[in-house]
């Protein structure tokens, strides 16, 4: 099930189980790997446990009363213990949380300062800031504005810029397309791809927009209720009939869906999970 190239993987998640509030079992033995320098997509429907997976990796889980009860994580060849999230950021893991989570009462500039919080090299930060403005020129005009007053797209740009400024080796993005206009989504994904290519940042991408995510990734995992049910190189996933049907919204042969097919979808889905 897991990708087998452990040697070049920057991150491996091995059979983890996550429990919330001591009772709710959310991840039931999940494994995945992110090869160094690649983009990996983690897909699945609402409540499949995608965000939980990211929080388990970034260490934010305990803040929501979640805990990893089984399995382990390996980052750059080293096992992760129960480090607090701020330490993991220093090690190179940065999560762009779902819903952007910009600091609304802070200006754009101050938000960017927070992104670079762990950095000590001022000149490097300055260079990276220029990179951000290169990717998202609009942020430069908004520097003094309160982040709470930015549009959703601008907030997402700000959230990604904060991540860039932390200069992570592994960037995890949780639903960057959430609530954005389709055109903007395309722009954001193009930039995610560019960041991956230019900065060499490995990226783990959680999405509901499967089409977009598979378009930029090289490998994909599909989750259903706390488990990976399908994984493989993107080409294979795209060719897979189930994926086409369930995630890309194409009926067999690209025809319109009939009610029978919807029923079939539900049955198949139940079977898959």
């Amino acid at each position: 099930m897991t990708a087998n190239n452990d040697e070049q993987a920057i991150l491996t998640v091995n059979n983890i189980e996550v429990v919330y509030n001591h009772v709710v079992l959310v991840l039931k033995g999940l494994s995945l790997a992110v090869p160094k320098g690649s983009i990996v997509a983690l897909l699945g429907s609402n409540g499949a446990g995608k965000s939980t997976t990211l929080k388990a990796i970034s260490g934010l889980l305990p803040l929501e009363d979640g805990e990893i009860t089984d399995g382990w994580l390996e980052f750059e060849g080293q096992r992760l213990g129960d480090e607090l999230p701020h330490k993991l950021v220093r090690r190179g893991i940065f999560q762009v949380m779902e819903g952007r989570r910009v600091f609304e009462d802070l200006t754009v500039e101050e938000n960017l300062t927070c992104g670079a919080y762990t950095r000590r090299d001022r000149s490097g930060v300055k260079a990276d800031l220029d990179k951000c403005f290169n990717y998202f020129p609009i942020l430069k005009d908004r520097l003094g504005k309160l982040a709470g007053y930015l549009s959703g797209g601008e907030q997402q740009m700000l959230a990604i810029s904060r991540a860039l400024l932390a200069r992570p080796t592994l960037m995890m993005l949780d639903e960057p397309s959430l609530g954005l206009a389709p055109l903007l989504v395309e722009e954001i994904f193009a930039i995610i791809q560019e960041i991956n290519q230019k900065e060499g940042t490995s990226i783990l991408l959680v999405e509901q927009n499967a089409q977009m995510a598979l378009g930029v990734s090289s490998y994909g995992y599909i989750m259903e209720s706390g488990r990976v049910v399908l994984d493989g190189p993107v080409e294979r996933l795209l060719a897979d009939q189930d994926v086409q049907e369930f995630y890309l919204g194409l009926g067999s042969g690209g025809a319109r869906k009939s009610y029978r097919e919807v029923k079939h979808y539900k049955r198949r889905k139940r079977w898959l999970s």
Binding site: S58, L60, L63, E64, L84, P85, H86, V89, R90, F94, Q95, M97, G99, R101, V102, F103, E104, D105, L106, E110, N111, T113, C114, G115, Y117, T118, G148, G152, R162, A166, G179
Partner: protein
């Protein structure tokens, strides 16, 4: 007219000191959402620290002042690490009770260490009152106001421009997101308690210098509640404005009404205004009504 001008000026001067103490409260509330009922006692202990270094140890005023800052920072740090950190996630009422208990403990400790005797600082500033036109201000009040304003300005600059200040505001806004930026939120809590204790202690030194000190000095701390509620619990600018309003209200009301009712208006007026303002604006004048977006 002269009387009014006089009352306004001394009201502003006292208000500046209230602003500083209220700032100490707001810093802690904003970062940690804890209502610190021991703010007044932080103030009182700060005044005793100053007395200790200045009179008992015999250090010059400015080093004593710096020592007060250092010691109260340590006090705030200790209290946060030893007690309040373990209260994270507990019900608000428990945490409030802890801070109330803390205030009694600090008061008791002060009685044990420094006795209940009334104490005065030796004069720090020239005795001659400051005369501005027709208005006369007691020199201790005048200089106290200047020191308070400098301290408030220093805090404002810290929060606006220093990296740690920005990180503290980020923490106040969204703890989880702050964590995800690599900010150690727990450290920010400690820093907030230290800064809060420093602000209150400086206010205590100023008030002690005006009126002398004793372990009940912390009762003045109750006055910061009208101040912070006026200004909104989580607004630093509000604390400053609220401080001035309370200073003005109590001086003007006291000055005009005391002769008719035989005193006491000064202590009562701020709370009357407090109730009135809360009736109209339940979140305070500057408090956040939790901006909803999306």
């Amino acid at each position: 007219m002269d009387i009014l001008a006089q009352l306004i000026v001394s009201g502003i001067a006292v208000g500046g000191v209230y602003a500083l103490i209220a700032l100490g409260f707001v810093v802690i509330y904003k970062a940690t959402s804890i209502i610190n009922f021991a703010t007044g006692e932080f103030m009182m202990i700060g005044a005793y620290f100053f007395y200790t270094f200045l009179v008992m140890v015999g250090m010059p005023p400015i080093p004593s002042f710096l020592m007060v800052m250092l010691c109260s920072a340590m006090l705030g740090l200790f209290i946060e690490r030893a007690i309040l950190r373990h209260m994270l996630g507990q019900p608000t009422i428990s945490i409030v009770m802890v801070t109330i208990g803390l205030s009694s403990i600090l008061m008791g400790l002060a009685e044990m260490i420094w006795s209940t005797d009334f104490k005065n600082f030796p004069p720090l500033f020239p005795r001659a009152p400051i005369i501005l036109g027709d208005i006369i201000i007691r020199s201790n009040l005048f200089w106290g106001f200047i020191v308070a304003m400098l301290a408030v300005a220093a805090f404002a600059l810290l929060f606006k421009y220093a990296k740690v200040g920005v990180a503290m505001r980020a923490t106040a806004g969204d703890q989880m997101a702050a964590f995800s930026m690599g900010i150690n939120v727990r450290t920010m809590f400690t820093v907030a308690w230290s800064l809060g204790a420093i602000a209150a202690a400086l206010g205590g030194v100023i008030i002690g210098n005006i009126g002398g000190i004793q372990p009940t000095l912390g009762n003045i701390g109750l006055k910061i509640f009208p101040v912070v509620i006026l200004g909104g619990l989580d607004s630093i600018a509000g604390a400053v404005v609220g401080g001035f309003i309370v200073g003005l209200v109590e001086n003007i009301a006291g000055g005009y009404l005391d002769p008719y009712v035989g005193g006491g208006v000064k202590d009562l007026a701020p709370f009357v205004v407090l109730v009135l303002i809360l009736l109209i604006k339940p979140y305070g004048l500057f408090g956040k009504e939790d901006i909803e977006r999306l």
